[in-house]
Structures are given as structure tokens and as C-alpha cells.
Symmetry: C2
Subunit: 339 residues, 2 copies
């Protein structure tokens, strides 16, 4: 039986663009069997728990038509790894399912280059997946592992814990605003921050170091205050957040105070970690930040729940809690089903 | 911070339609943490290997616009479980990523009903995923486990092994032909076979029983002869297949011999298992079929490779090997990038 004379079928496509070099698979000794069978087989570190996360990116929704394919490849995997980071899990490997409107070899080459650059950087090989024709959609499922009971869940925040964030907040949102011409940003300012939107860095190493330290964590994808609510809901606590403590880049600091606060507090796509930890870990956390060359900033604290549903209380520069109406303008958190 | 007044956001959607009842999660003791955190956490059976598989279903490509959502929910998970079955893996849980063109609550209710009916039947709970707006696309990643070294790979076929298939072949393709009006099928015949296309049964139990018996296996999704080639390529062997031995339903048997052969040999979407096993397992395999009330049919044998690239040699009813030209008409195997 001879191979059919199709221009480039599903199997050729995988073989050509998505087959991880054996050397790269070998870099992760957990992979027993990669692409090419009904399933991939993974041998998790002895006794460890498996963490799994999935993200789906749709053209026109999560990225613009015509988006740079190499950046897209990087980002598609990076946002998945960011979820592992938020659990304190170590990457094992990922599955890629992709729907492509056409067989654009140049696009595929660039996409796979970006994808593998992140895969190699974080020793997280491609182990399987699916390809099909369809509207451009990228769906990635990533596996990681943690020692039993050591994953950082959202439900562990305790009253008096401090609330922390890594890096700076709001630059991805500011980039988006500039690209949408909502804000007029000088080109050299844009160049300083646009990687924050296009090439987020999963904070894997930070997550691993926070395993025994943080009481809860998540990655900031939809906006800090909205995301923080998930921790509050699952931990059944409130939080006080000092707006002026939110870490901002020099570029964002040039904007109006209102823009700074809104973008830092509610802008999505930063993929930094937000976590809570007991007060006595304060110094240790600052040292982790130094060791990783990644600013870690304490932005508030966990308090007793005041009402039925957990709340973020936003404090302005004079330490005054914003009213519901005032707070409302900060709550324009990104929701994929919102208008 | 109060929940925003959106009609139905991503989190409500998950909460309402996709949150596995705690009881159902408890049915699988491997799940340490389900939906609602950055990752799900799974505790695989001690020392076992993890199997992972992904499938992406796109409207207009894998199912018709307006397809019954309950059947779609069933099928979306069933085809994934079928890959686990082909490895001899036991289901652990799955992640669902879904892009929806709109919030159609009736559709979601039916889809989730179908999905959970399969999830419950095979003790494979929904543990996480992603929802977004976009062209209707369903992407599922499923995890399973096998004792170390016991997964049935595609690469294990040996010369003189017998080639087997489960169930009957070609009914899903016949259903499609009837729905497309390519073939005029009496309504009561269609009713007898259409579940084969809409509600394929993953052969999980068969896969588990074949663990120590089969030398190679896969599930037939793209067409028997085309899929068998994957085993041949990975095992570096040829196969002889007797066309007249292909198991066919009574409904398919009413069609012309040519249609019977083409649909049974090349029709996709059957999701039966094709496997190879040493001759001395012949009787054991027949007994497994009896125990499972699932016909298992020996359709040929593995032989030495005759050329560089492994081939299926198709034998007609007088045991004559079809020429390349004759064989070509059987090779219209389904490829998602073919016209």
C-alpha cells in the first residue's frame, strides 16, 4: 500500500512540523512514548501527583487575525505552563490539538518554532495531539507533577496572610490599548512592554520555590482583582488590596493615575503569579524574588469575610476603602463571554 | 466585590453545565482536585504509567451543523476513550476545552448530558478545561493509566501474528452514505446501524483484557486498512488481509460486494479495535469475545516486509492478492486534510 499523493496529510504534517526531536524528548526522562501511537505514555516521578491544565486559543478572540505565528506558538504553550506554575507543578509534557484553515507551511514552521522554543526552555516536550482543518484554534493540554500534597491550591489562604504578586501588572493591557489606538503610546515605550502581551513568561521556577511557602496561588490571566476573587471564594476570606502598591512598569507609570490603576488592577494577560503566604514568610519571599531577579511585591492582606460572598476591598492612597460604586470601575475584568 | 451582571459568564457556565457532581468524582478515587483551580490533580495508581490522548472535533468537519448535541457530547468523549482502549489503558479523567458560537443553554444542557453519560459509564470524570466563544470546536484530552510496560503499543507486531478486529466494520460509513443520500437505505435498516456513527462504544474492557495478549493495537477511526498501516509502519512488517473475512453487519451485507468491501475496509468512524496477537492466543481471544459479548474476528496475518515501506496485501475471496491498481480503490482512507 503506497502513501497517497495528497499534498500534505495529517501524518506528514505532524512528522514535519510537530515531531519533537528524539534528543529533546530524551531531555525529559518521564516520556516513555511520544507522538505516533494512540496515546503518549508518561512515567511520572515516583509517587508524585499529576497536574493537568488546558487552554483553548481562538483566532479573533484570543489573538488577532494575522498574529505573528512564532509569538503565537510561544504564547499558546506559555499560558498553559503558567497554570502549572500557579500550582507549583513541574512540567512533564503537553498535547497540542490544532485546527488550521489551510496548510500554510510558512505559518506552521514559524508557529512550531515558537512552540518548541518554550517547550525546550521549560523541558516540556510535545507528546501528542491532533490536527484538523477548521477555523484557527489552538488547544493545549499540559501535564506536570508535584510531590503529593505539595501543590499550591486556591483554597489555602488564611486570615492575616499577605497577598503578593510577581513582576509588574498592566503592561499587557497597555500594549493592547496601544494596538487598538485607545491610547497613544510612543513607539519606544511600546517596544519596551509589548513582549508582556505577546510573549508572557510562565513563572515555573517561582511556582516551584513557593511550594512550601505560599498558602494559595493562581496566575493572573483575566485581571488581578477578578482572578484574586477565585482565591477568596475558595478560601472563604476577604482581601484588602492597596491600589498604590500594585507594581507597575516605568512605561505604565507615565499614564494617568486612573489608567495605571485600572490596567494594573484589572488588565488581563499578564501571566504573573498572585499568591498569599503567612506573614512570617515575608523575608523569605523577598529573597526568592532576588534570587530569581523577579520583583515580588506585597500588595495587601487577607482578612475575615465581611459578607456572604468573599470580597476584595480596594484601598486608595489614603488607605480609604473604595465604595461599591468606586470599585465598580475596577471590575471590568476580562470575561470571554462578556461583550 | 460583587459578581458582575453578565448573562452567563465562563465561570457560571462551568459551574452550571460542566461541574461534575462530587459523587461522580468520588467514584474515581484518583482525582485529588477537580474543576476550579489552575490545574486538576490526579493521583495515578501507584507506579503506573500515565496515558494521554487528545482529539479535536470541529463543526462542519467532524460533525454536521445542527448535529444532536447529546450524541455529540457522547461521541466527543467516546472517541477519546477509544484511544485509551487501544492502549489497554484504564480511564482516569478528562479535560474539556470548548469554543461556543453562542450561549445556547438548551444545547449545553443536552451536550453535557451526553458527555456525562459516557463519563459516568466509564468512570472517567471531567476534571478541568476551558470555555471560550468561537466557532463550535470541542477539544478533549483524556488521561488513563496502565501498569508499567503493559500498554499495547503499535510497534509490537511480529511475523506470524494474527490480525484481529472487534465488532463489525463499515456501519458508520454506511450511515454517513445514507445521510448524504449516496446510498438509499430503508429507514429501519438505518435505525439499526446509525448508532455506530453517532454513538460509538469505546472498547475499554476489551483493551484491558488484551494487555497481556495483543502484540499491537489501535482503534479504527480513519478506516481499517489505512489505520492498520500505522501498526505495520511502526512494527516494520507487512500484513495479509482477507477481504471476505471482514466482519459486517446484516445491514451492510445487503449492499453490493464492492460497497461492503470498501466500507468495511476503508470506512472510518467505527472505533472498533484492530489488534495483532501471537497465533497461540487465538482461542483465548475468542473466549474474551464471548465473555464480552463482542465478536472478535481474525482477518489476516502479519508477514515479513516485502518492500521498503510496509504494506497491506489485500486478498480477495480466491486468496489472490489484489494488484496495486485494484488495491488503490480501497485506499480512499479518510484524511482530515484530503479534499
Amino acid at each position: 500500500m503506497h502513501s497517497s499523493p495528497k499534498p500534505l496529510g495529517e501524518f506528514d504534517l505532524i512528522e514535519r512540523f510537530f515531531k519533537t526531536p528524539a534528543a529533546s524528548q530524551a531531555s525529559n526522562s518521564a516520556i516513555n512514548l511520544g507522538i505516533g501511537d494512540d496515546c503518549a505514555l508518561i512515567n511520572p516521578p515516583s509517587g508524585e501527583e499529576i497536574a493537568i491544565t488546558s487552554d483553548m486559543l481562538v483566532e479573533g478572540r484570543h489573538f488577532l487575525k494575522g498574529a505573528d505565528p512564532e509569538q503565537l506558538g510561544r504564547k499558546a504553550l506559555a499560558v498553559n505552563l503558567s497554570d502549572l506554575a500557579a500550582m507549583g507543578a513541574k512540567p512533564l509534557g503537553f498535547n497540542l490539538s490544532i485546527a488550521l484553515p489551510s496548510m500554510n507551511e510558512q505559518w506552521l514552521e514559524a508557529f512550531s518554532k515558537g512552540l518548541f522554543s518554550i517547550a525546550n526552555q521549560f523541558a516540556c516536550p510535545l507528546i501528542g495531539g491532533d490536527t484538523t482543518a477548521g477555523p484557527l484554534t489552538i488547544s493545549i493540554a499540559t501535564l506536570g507533577s508535584t510531590p503529593p500534597g505539595k501543590a499550591i491550591r486556591r483554597s489555602g489562604s488564611k486570615v492575616d496572610d499577605e497577598v503578593w504578586v510577581s513582576g509588574t501588572m498592566g503592561d499587557a493591557r497597555l500594549t493592547l490599548a496601544a494596538l487598538r489606538h485607545e491610547i497613544d503610546l510612543p513607539i519606544n515605550d511600546l517596544q519596551k512592554i509589548e513582549h508582556r502581551m505577546h510573549q508572557p513568561t510562565p513563572r515555573i521556577e517561582l511556582g516551584l520555590r513557593l511550594r512550601e511557602i505560599a498558602s494559595a496561588a493562581l496566575d493572573v490571566s483575566d485581571g488581578l482583582l477578578g482572578d484574586l476573587q477565585h482565591i477568596l471564594r475558595q478560601s472563604q476570606v476577604d482581601a484588602e488590596i492597596f491600589l498604590e502598591r500594585l507594581p507597575k512598569s516605568d512605561v505604565l507609570k507615565k499614564q494617568s493615575i486612573q489608567t495605571q490603576n485600572q490596567f494594573a488592577a484589572c488588565g488581563g494577560d499578564d501571566y504573573e503569579l498572585c499568591f498569599t503566604a503567612p506573614k512570617n514568610q515575608h523575608q523569605t519571599i523577598l529573597e526568592i524574588g532576588k534570587a530569581l531577579n523577579l520583583p515580588l511585591t506585597c500588595i495587601g492582606r487577607i482578612i475575615h469575610k465581611k459578607n456572604d460572598s468573599p470580597q476584595v476591598h480596594i484601598l486608595n492612597s489614603d488607605g480609604k476603602i473604595l465604595s461599591d460604586t468606586e470599585a465598580a470601575q475596577f471590575l471590568k475584568s476580562f470575561d470571554h463571554f462578556a461583550a
